[in-house]
Every structure is written in structure tokens, then in C-alpha cells.
């Protein structure tokens, strides 16, 4: 186990000296209502092209996943698990028929009740989660980009410069989360910019602004991490034992995410990798093996000639 170390400051590592605090998202999926306001706001603000209408049959998710034209994606998971049942505050000893006789004259203290009895049917819960680029501390997409099109901003976020990207496509399979993708008609790679243009103006990203439940919270990453810890503690105290943070740990395989999540189930249930690692962590080893293999080839070729002797 590593001991807790100083959290990496990606902006400083990229050479920014006097830079604003690292900004990010904390997406608290427990309060997401699946309204997709974030998806829409993102498309609107960033002028992301439409990508057709497809009815997938995956609950309310017809967006399927992040890609070149989807920078926020709301996942819907239907589960035969208890827990989504909230106590609506109904009193089952109340005589609803008698109450109905009151008609519209329901007394104010009783108003807000419904005459429906909560069914005791099967366990069911509905998880919703708004996914986005993680703006990794160690971002594979940025590391492998051969043109320098992907760069680290002063806010510690990761952004593509579309005037430089030559569409080599390397960043796409490099991302351990399946975020960035190529627009086929345009050839270049696209993804969430964490609304770099809005940040520069002191505004919050469009998705966070639009989120009606504050499931998407934007702010300095330090603050968000603190707030998220508090929220998990609160949920645990309330008996929601499976509440957990995902991507908040600066010691994880990508050095922690700039956009992290509070989940109610295992990450892969939401389509997240359970233990993502930045591919370039193994790059020194890759280069060593490449070097050794090249030397082996050179030696093999030399041996092929030595073994052949002269002239034959």
C-alpha cells in the first residue's frame, strides 16, 4: 500500500505556475432523477451535433454511452434490489374512502396524500447516473496524443484542440473509460471540455448549471472531495451501506479523477471500469521490451549471416 502522498497537481505538472485551483465535477447519482437536462444543456452549449434517434430498449437510456457527440450520458439501471422505496409518509391506518368523501375539501394537514396504497410488490430500484469525461490526473488520451492536440488546461482539465487534431484516433482506445471518440464525418476526436470557454468567464459548466437536483456539482476539486466524503458518511448513517465514491482516490490507477461519482452499486453496473489504470503507466516497460526485441532482431540477423558463411 502506498502511503497517502501529496495529491498531484496536474496543472502545475504541465508547467502552469500561477494557476486557478483544479476544477471538477462531483456527480452524486443518488439524487439524479434521470431528466437528461445535462445531456441537453451540453449539446446546446457546445453545439454538439445530433446523433440520430435510436430506441434501444435499455430502460430510458437511448443515448447508450459517451462518444464524439455525447459528452454527458445518463445511464438508467433497473434492478431487482430493495432500497429505492422511499417512505412516502402515508398512514396506512387512514380511511382513504372516508377522506375521499371530503372531496376537494380535504383538510390542509391531510393534503398531499394520495388514495393509492403502496404496493408490496417485488423489490425494484432504478439507478440513474450522469457520466462524463473524468479529466484524469494521469490522462491516457493526453499522454498518447502524437500531435499535442490534447492538452492540460490551467484548471487541470483535459481538452482537445480541434484545429490541431489530425484524427489519428490514438486517444480513443487509450482512454480507460471509453470517453473520447471520433466523429466519422469530421475525422477528428471530440469529448467534454468541462466547458473550458465558460470556466474562463468564471461560469460553471452547462450541465452543472442545468441539473435541477444538484446531482452534478461543480467546483474546486478539493472542496468537492470533502463534500463527497461528508455525503457518503451521511448516507451510511442513514443506512445506505452501499453508497461509495468512485474516482475520488488520488492513489487509484489514474491518479484520481477530476470528475468523480457517488454510486450505489459496483462501478461496472454503471458501465465504469472497476479498476482503471492509465495505460502509460506501463510504457517504460513497453519501451524496454521494444528495445530488447529490436536488439534480438539485430542479433538474429547477424547470426543468420554468420551461420550462412561466405558466398552461399
Amino acid at each position: 500500500m502506498t502511503t497517502a502522498r501529496e495529491a498531484t497537481d496536474p496543472a502545475a505538472e504541465s508547467g502552469y505556475t500561477d494557476h486557478p485551483p483544479r476544477m471538477g465535477f462531483f456527480t452524486d447519482t443518488t439524487v439524479c432523477i434521470g431528466c437528461k437536462a445535462c445531456e441537453v444543456a451540453c449539446k446546446e452549449w457546445n453545439a454538439v451535433p445530433a446523433d440520430g434517434l435510436d430506441l434501444t430498449g435499455m430502460s430510458y437510456d437511448n443515448t447508450v454511452g459517451l462518444g464524439a457527440n455525447t459528452w454527458r450520458h445518463v445511464a438508467f439501471i433497473e434492478q431487482r434490489k430493495p432500497l429505492a422505496a422511499q417512505d412516502p409518509g402515508l398512514h396506512h391506518d387512514t380511511d382513504v374512502l372516508a377522506m375521499a368523501e371530503h372531496g376537494s375539501a380535504t383538510q390542509p394537514p391531510e393534503a398531499g396524500m394520495t388514495p393509492t396504497t403502496p404496493g408490496s410488490g417485488d423489490d425494484f430500484r432504478w439507478l440513474m447516473a450522469s457520466d462524463v469525461c473524468k479529466h484524469c490526473t494521469h490522462a491516457a488520451c493526453l499522454d498518447v496524443c502524437p500531435t499535442g492536440s490534447l492538452f492540460r488546461t490551467e484548471f487541470g482539465t483535459v481538452v482537445v484542440q480541434e484545429d490541431i487534431c489530425n484524427g489519428c484516433g490514438y486517444c480513443i482506445p487509450a482512454c480507460p473509460y471509453g470517453v473520447i471518440d471520433q466523429r466519422p464525418d469530421d475525422g477528428r476526436a471530440w469529448k467534454c471540455t468541462l466547458c473550458y470557454d465558460r470556466l474562463g468567464e468564471g461560469m460553471e459548466p452547462a450541465c452543472a448549471k442545468a441539473c435541477p437536483t444538484d446531482s452534478i456539482q461543480f467546483g474546486p476539486l478539493d472542496e468537492l472531495r470533502e463534500r463527497a466524503q461528508q455525503r457518503v458518511r451521511q448516507l451510511h448513517e442513514a443506512g445506505v451501506g452501499e453508497a461509495r465514491l468512485y474516482g475520488d482516490d488520488p492513489d487509484d490507477g489514474v491518479g484520481g479523477d477530476g470528475a468523480f461519482f457517488l454510486l450505489l452499486d459496483e462501478p461496472e453496473v454503471y458501465g465504469f471500469p472497476p479498476d482503471p489504470v492509465v495505460t502509460t503507466r506501463d510504457l517504460p516497460s513497453m519501451w524496454r521490451h521494444v528495445g530488447a526485441a529490436a536488439a534480438t532482431l539485430l542479433a538474429g540477423a547477424a547470426a543468420a549471416f554468420l551461420g550462412a558463411g561466405k558466398g552461399r
Binding site: D87, A140, T147, N166, C168, G169, C175, P176, G178, D251
Partner: protein, 350 residues
């Protein structure tokens, strides 16, 4: 105004405090809680892939991988042939190396989303990007291979030609090997996890391919180094592939299944047949030519198979999720520690 204004204190935003998911009422225990699924059991989001698979197209990128190996190996044969006075073998492999690298570069540019911006590859120098390093390498190797070929064809500037031949032979092995780092440096399970052995598979396959070219082009009596190189390359490729599959476990499945499996098997069979044929049929011109063709085709099939296996492993979330789950499980056992979270201190491979 600071950026966090409007996101103020906890108390100001009661919605954030909603205890959604809390069952405050009667708990329904009737069904008896199912035991939690074992950690290695595989779950996914509607079976959708976790990572976005490569958008690299076939045959562009398989051809790029194959031709790079062919070029690198051919430059070695060329230099050796020149040193040992095998004139025809030298000429053929010099021209072959330049032709292969030119086509390889063409395939790469063709695959770009914005081919006109190819030169943006050289606007930075970036060791963390194998594609960037590869571009610089090709920028060095290409002209050397070109110079060697031009001098061999025209017979002009033999000194410069010899120097270019030597230069191409020194950079050639790197050209044949670096494409392994190129594919491994991704989140594609079959490629990334194979990063220790793929370089040897790639140079072995490149050597066999170049040997095939040598067998096809050599004058009778000149070909024995090519035959030796075929044996060496094929043995290296097959051994490294075996080792890789053994180490990768379930992640190696795509190398043996479906279209990718077919291509890999074809590659192995052709390489073995070519190498054997070149030895057994050493007195026969026909056997030599057939062996050469088999070796070339085998090298192309191997690279193609590796490429396709990568696509398959990216497409199926199980190759991403299961190994990561197992890694977490191992760490929890080893550390006795807290579940749910990865610990990068334990490297997955070296």
C-alpha cells in the same frame, strides 16, 4: 467572484441532502437477501463495451503493422547481403524495404481522419506517445531506406548508398518493434496486457516476412541467410506468442476465437510451412519461391490477427471488467484491506 460562488454551503442546498434510497418504512425481508454476487462474477451495463474500441480501419492499420516489420527486417538483410557480397539479395531487400515503408506510411496517412494534417505528428516530440516517436523514427528511417534503394537501383553514389544502408539497418529493428508499443499503449485488453511479448512477436513476424522477400528475390545460391532468418523469425514469433497466451489467461481468448483466431492460426501455419519448406526444399527453386510467398503471407496474417483480436477484446466488456475485478480481489487478499478501490502500488504487470 470565485468559481465556487453559488455552490455554497451545505445548508444552502437542501436537495443535496435528500436521503434518496433510504427505506425508512417497513423493511421487506420476505425474500431473504440473495448472497452478494462473488466479486469475480461479471456484470456490465447492458453488455456494452467499457472502452471505446479503436477506430483504426482494416486493412490500413494491419497493413501498416505488417509493412513496418517487413521493411525493418529487409533493411537488415540488405546490409548483411551487401557486406557479404550477395548483390541481388541486397538490391531486392533495399528496394523492398523502401517500398514497404512507403506503403506503410501511405496506409497510416490514409487512416487519419484528417490526412492533410499528417505533419502535425511532428509538431511535438513526445516520448509518452509511441505514435509520435514512431513518426520521428519513420522520418529518420524513410530517407535512409530511400537512399539505399536509390543507390542500389541507379548504381550512383555507392559510398552514400552504403552509409544509408548501414543507417537503415541500425534503425530498421526499431521500426519493426515500435508498433508493438503503439498498440500496447492503449486500454485494449489483448494488446495492453500482451505488452511484454508483443514486441518479440512483431520482430519475429517481421523477420520472417523479410526472409520471405529475400527467398523470393535472391539469386540461386544467395539465399541461405534468408533461410536462416526465416527459421529465427518464425521460432521467435511462435515462442513469444505461446508465452503471451499462457500469461494472459482469459484475455488471450480473442487470439484464438473467431476471425482473429483464424488469422492468427493461418499466420502461424504459413510461417511454419514457409520456414520448413525453405529448409527441406533448398534444392528446388519452386520450393524456395513457395516458401518465400508463404512467409510473407504468414507475416501479414499474424499482424492482421493481432489487430482483429484487439478489436474483439475491446468490444466485449468482460475482457475489461474481469481482469480488473481479479486484480482488486488479489489486492484485497494481499493487503487484507478495504474493498472497492484499486491500489496502483501493486503493478499489474512489469
Amino acid at each position: 467572484m470565485t468559481m465556487s460562488d453559488g455552490h455554497g454551503s451545505l445548508a444552502a442546498r437542501p436537495a443535496r441532502e435528500a436521503t434518496t434510497g433510504v427505506n425508512t418504512g417497513r423493511r421487506r425481508g420476505r425474500r431473504g437477501e440473495q448472497p452478494v454476487v462473488p466479486d469475480t462474477q461479471f456484470t456490465s451495463y447492458y453488455g456494452k463495451p467499457i472502452i471505446n474500441g479503436p477506430v483504426w480501419k482494416s486493412p490500413d492499420i494491419p497493413a501498416y503493422l505488417f509493412l513496418g516489420g517487413l521493411a525493418g527486417g529487409s533493411s537488415l538483410l540488405a546490409a548483411g547481403a551487401q557486406l557479404t557480397g550477395r548483390g541481388r539479395l541486397a538490391a531486392v531487400t533495399k528496394v523492398g524495404a523502401f517500398g514497404a515503408i512507403t506503403l506503410s506510411l501511405g496506409a497510416l496517412v490514409h487512416d487519419l481522419g484528417r490526412p492533410a494534417r499528417f505533419l502535425n505528428m511532428l509538431r511535438v516530440f513526445k516520448p509518452t506517445s509511441p505514435m509520435n516517436m514512431g513518426s520521428w523514427l519513420l522520418a529518420g528511417y524513410g530517407p535512409l531506406a530511400g537512399g539505399a534503394a536509390a543507390s542500389a537501383v541507379t548504381g550512383k553514389l555507392p559510398k552514400a548508398g552504403a552509409a544509408a544502408t548501414a543507417g537503415a539497418a541500425l534503425t530498421g529493428p526499431a521500426v519493426a518493434a515500435y508498433t508493438a508499443a503503439l498498440v500496447s499503449d492503449t486500454a485494449v485488453p489483448a494488446w495492453h496486457d500482451g505488452h511484454r511479448e508483443l514486441p518479440y512477436v512483431f520482430v519475429g513476424s517481421g523477420a520472417a516476412g523479410a526472409a520471405g522477400l529475400g527467398l523470393l528475390g535472391a539469386r540461386q545460391g544467395e539465399e541461405s541467410p534468408a533461410r536462416n532468418l526465416a527459421l529465427f523469425g518464425t521460432a521467435l514469433e511462435l515462442a513469444a506468442f505461446k508465452r503471451m497466451e499462457k500469461r494472459l489467461g482469459m484475455v488471450a481468448e480473442p487470439y484464438r476465437a473467431g476471425r482473429a483466431g483464424l488469422l492468427v492460426r493461418a499466420g502461424e501455419t504459413l510461417a511454419a510451412a514457409g520456414a520448413a519448406g525453405s529448409v527441406l526444399g533448398r534444392r528446388s527453386r519452386v520450393a524456395r519461391l513457395l516458401s518465400g510467398a508463404a512467409l510473407l503471407a504468414g507475416s501479414a496474417c499474424t499482424k492482421w490477427g493481432v489487430f482483429e483480436a484487439g478489436l474483439t477484446s475491446a468490444e466485449d466488456p468482460k475482457y475489461t471488467v474481469v481482469p480488473q475485478r481479479e486484480r482488486l480481489l488479489r489486492q484485497n487478499h494481499a493487503g487484507g484491506g478495504e474493498a472497492q478501490r484499486g491500489n496502483p502500488a501493486v503493478p499489474q504487470s512489469g
